[in-house]
């Protein structure tokens, strides 16, 4: 599912960071690789032990440093390698999403998903669909400009 070249030339290429857990999604992404599943090159992975380790500040920082979109992905509920880390992550992100909205950041720029170690195909889908979505949303406008717009 590579992006058609003609379309690519005309549109903007988003920069996306993925924070993923080591046991499920990272391994799922490895599987996508071993299965040679072609996908958009816009997503770069940062490996963490567990989604429970993901501080929401990482996401804020990523946008500040020029990311246009962020993916957070870990083990399916009940499958956490550490029993419950993903549940903590889920709760944290439920609150975080509202904070993003409050700050005027389109929550669509952040994709939360569960991708298990056996779901290479699903990972490719998440990468492609997120890239597509963020491409449509356009480049992320920096926080000060977001804040400014809100004040007005």
């Amino acid at each position: 599912m590579s992006v058609p070249a003609k379309e690519k030339a005309s549109s903007f290429e988003p920069n996306i960071v993925a924070f993923v857990c080591n046991w499920c999604t990272y391994t799922g992404a490895d599987l996508a690789g071993t299965s040679r599943l072609n996908m958009a090159p816009n997503v770069r992975i940062i490996r963490l032990p567990c989604t429970g380790r993901i501080d929401t500040l990482f996401i804020l920082k990523a946008f500040e440093r020029g990311a246009d979109g962020v993916i957070v992905s870990g083990c399916h509920p009940a499958d956490c390698h550490y029993t419950a880390g993903n549940y903590h992550a889920r709760r944290r992100f439920a609150v975080f999403r509202e904070l993003m909205e409050f700050m005027g950041v389109d929550p669509q720029r952040i994709t939360f998903s569960w991708v298990s170690a056996s779901e290479g195909g699903k990972w490719a889908e998440v990468v492609n669909s997120t890239t597509e979505k963020v491409r449509e949303l356009g480049p992320f406008v920096s926080y000060p400009r977001v804040a400014h717009a809100q004040v007005k």
């Binding site: 071993t34 090159p41 770069r44 032990p49 429970g52």
Partner: protein
């Protein structure tokens, strides 16, 4: 300033075909802190590793980044190589430019750019890596086995024979579990008691096994190698040290009409009783709820009612005032082998997600029984002496209908799983029936026959061909009384015809469920369980007997429905795991765990609340005089598994997970 070396691997053509490795190496060489950056055909090969080792020495590197395959593949390899050259192994990291880049992209320019980005993440991250050394934990080389069914017995014997001490805790008054109730066992039809009893005796006599029957685990503290377990020894009302198992007390107990649990309600026992003659330990227990003396006490009757057992006990072993007692044991590993119970199919259910089968009249029609009750009828030591007789009138049934999958594979009843053993024991029951009642007719309603296993399918075939059991594929909609018989109404889905049979007896092959109370035990142990309460293994294929809590293992039917061969195999597997763990006095593990900054921790203990392992402990900071300054968090190195949930939760950023500290992750993000 760091002195980092970057090594980009071509992986033959695997990376080199889509990523311009030389260009990546060159770009990395220009990053601040990178003093050496090269590419090579095969980094993991001996010459590749030599290249890294040599560079570490020549350039005095304090960090190594290998841009190659997934760290899951070769992180250990490269860390070892780094260590061999004198660099701390945790100062070596990998960037994944194969699985996450070259294999999933086609455009060379794009892939090369992305590879640069991926390696840059790690170069920036590694600037904040600290040298770490592996952690050594002392191991208390004794094991605790919870549950004395065949699984627990096997595990205990294997470990004890392997030279280590075992404490076996069984909640009932005798070990043996369900296997002691079975008549003969598939697929060989050997007598269950005959193969089990010697094992039970061996447990009791083994110098390295401490058997605590009629006991339960009260609490569990600690971590792998160092558990502390509090065990409640329930009051038997018998002084175990005095009792010699003569049986006078049970003989003289006047209350003889209590339905026996061991006989599945088909026989009776006394109030002071041994569940079955071969019980181990062979010491009675007094059922206080059914004892006249205790009933009298409860009513406030001043004079002692009864007390006959005490009068006839020559050794004065009976102690009506005995209380529960507690002991604490220190062990290094725990095996859970708590087994199963059968699904109760009456109308009332203990849990909301389960639904009974009111339509089958279980509990109201006396000749509708379950599989274990049939085992008791067929057992030579059972209430009928091994004769198949109807519970209602003691007549020999000439037609028995067996229903499979009662509860199992039935989403509507709350259990979608297959109980696995029922196809086999129903076939066994039809054979036993045929052996005992030659002119009897066995009819089986089944959904599918699942007889995978050595000699299993042949066994079912024998039931059909030699014992002439009639197998009908289909479900039964209702069981109703019809005079002396039970009307079985169902459908034969192969012919599409409705079927109506008047049976003398009906046997329901009910689903296997985990033991009641297993979830509270699992919570004490921090072991996860599935929707139904079966304990979860760490990995369904590669770590089938370990749990996610290090040092705790599972065996037998508490993990999923299992037959005896499977339970025994699992039990021996846990024993070999435990003996492996006990082969060293100390346990070595990776140091990627959380660490508390004592200066900044405020003692809010948010970390304690989110830790899935209970690894956070309280540490008292005192001044020189011993006055308490503050109580802060401390991480138990043996318990922490390194998920990092605490760090993301800590409001003062005082807890850090080595290998994935905030500094390291932010450095990577900053390199975007």
């Amino acid at each position: 300033m760091s002195r980092i070396g970057v090594f980009i691997c071509h992986c033959g053509e695997n990376i080199g075909r889509t990523v311009d490795c030389a260009q990546v190496a060159q770009a990395m060489g220009e990053l601040p802190g990178v003093v050496h950056s090269v590419d090579y055909k095969y980094m993991c090969s001996d010459p590749g590793q030599a290249l890294i080792k040599q560079a570490i020495k020549e350039h005095n590197l304090d960090g190594v980044v290998v841009g190659a395959c997934s760290p899951h593949m070769h992180e250990k390899t490269f860390r070892k190589a780094a260590a061999a050259a004198g660099l701390n192994p945790y100062l070596c990291e990998m960037a994944n430019i194969r699985e996450h880049c070259s294999w999933i992209h086609e455009d060379r320019a794009e892939a090369t750019e992305k590879a640069k980005g991926l390696v840059r993440f790690i170069v920036e991250k590694i600037k904040y890596n600290r040298p770490l050394s592996n952690i050594f934990i002392p191991v208390n080389r004794r094991a605790l086995v919870i549950g004395g069914g065949i699984a627990g017995i096997q595990a205990a014997l294997d470990i004890a024979d392997g030279g280590r001490e075992v404490i076996l805790v069984e909640k009932e008054s005798s070990i043996g579990g369900h296997m002691s109730q079975l008549s003969e066992t598939f697929p060989t039809l050997d007598c269950s008691q005959c193969i089990l009893t010697p094992r039970m005796v061996e447990v009791a006599q083994h110098p390295r096994i401490k058997l605590l029957a009629y006991s339960e685990v009260e609490s569990v503290d600690g971590y792998i190698g160092n558990f502390e377990v509090k065990i409640r020894q329930k009051a038997r009302s018998i002084d175990v040290s005095k009792c010699n198992g003569c049986g006078e007390c049970t003989k003289n107990c006047p209350n003889k009409k209590i339905p026996s649990e061991f006989e599945q309600g088909l026989g009776f026992r006394t109030a002071i009783y041994v569940p079955f003659p071969q019980a181990v330990p062979n010491i009675p227990v007094l059922d206080r709820d059914n004892c006249a003396l205790f009933k009298g006490r409860a009513k406030g009757v001043k004079k002692q009612v009864c007390g006959k057992c005490a009068t006839v006990c020559g050794r004065r072993a009976i102690d009506f005032d005995q209380q529960d007692s507690f002991i604490t044991e220190k062990v290094g590993a725990i095996i859970v082998a708590t087994g199963y119970q059968l699904y109760w199919i009456g109308k009332e259910q203990e849990s909301e997600i389960l639904h009974g089968y009111g339509e089958y009249g279980y509990g109201t029609i006396p000749d509708v029984i379950d599989g274990l009750q049939f085992e008791r009828l067929a057992s030579a030591s059972g209430p009928t002496g091994g004769k198949i007789l109807r519970p209602s009138d003691g007549k020999e049934p000439k037609k028995i209908v067996f229903l499979q999958c009662i509860g199992s594979r039935d989403r509507a009843k709350g259990m979608e799983y297959c109980s696995k053993i029922c196809c086999m024991y129903v076939a066994k029951h039809t054979m036993l029936y045929h052996h005992k009642v030659h002119d009897g007719k066995a009819i089986v309603f089944y959904m599918d026959i699942r007889a995978g296993g050595k000699g299993y399918d042949e066994f079912v075939r024998r039931a059909i061909e030699e014992s002439h059991a009639l197998y009908l594929r289909g479900r039964v909609s209702s069981l109703t009384r019809n005079g002396d018989t039970i009307r079985v109404q169902g459908v034969d889905t192969l012919s599409g015809e409705p079927v109506s049979i008047d049976a003398d007896m009906v046997v329901l092959a009910t689903a296997m469920r985990p033991q009641p109370g297993i979830t509270s035990l699992a919570q004490k142990l921090s072991v996860s369980y599935d929707l139904h309460g079966f304990l979860n293994e760490a990995h369904p294929k590669l770590r089938p007997v370990e749990t996610n809590t290090a040092g705790i293992f599972v065996a037998g039917a508490c993990q999923a429905p299992r037959d005896i061969p499977d339970s025994v195999a699992m039990a021996s597997a846990t024993a070999s795991k435990v003996l492996g763990l006990f082969s060293n006095e100390q346990l070595e593990r990776e140091p990627l765990i959380a660490r508390v900054d004592r200066q900044t921790c405020t003692g809010c203990f948010h970390c304690e609340r989110v830790c899935p392992y209970g690894a956070v402990e309280r540490f008292e900071v005192k001044d020189r005089k011993g006055n308490l300054i503050k109580v802060i968090a401390e991480v138990n190195q043996g318990v922490c598994q390194g998920c990092g949930t605490c760090q993301a939760t800590c409001p003062s950023k005082s807890i850090e997970l080595d290998g994935f500290t905030d500094e390291q992750i932010f450095a990577a993000v900053n390199a975007l």
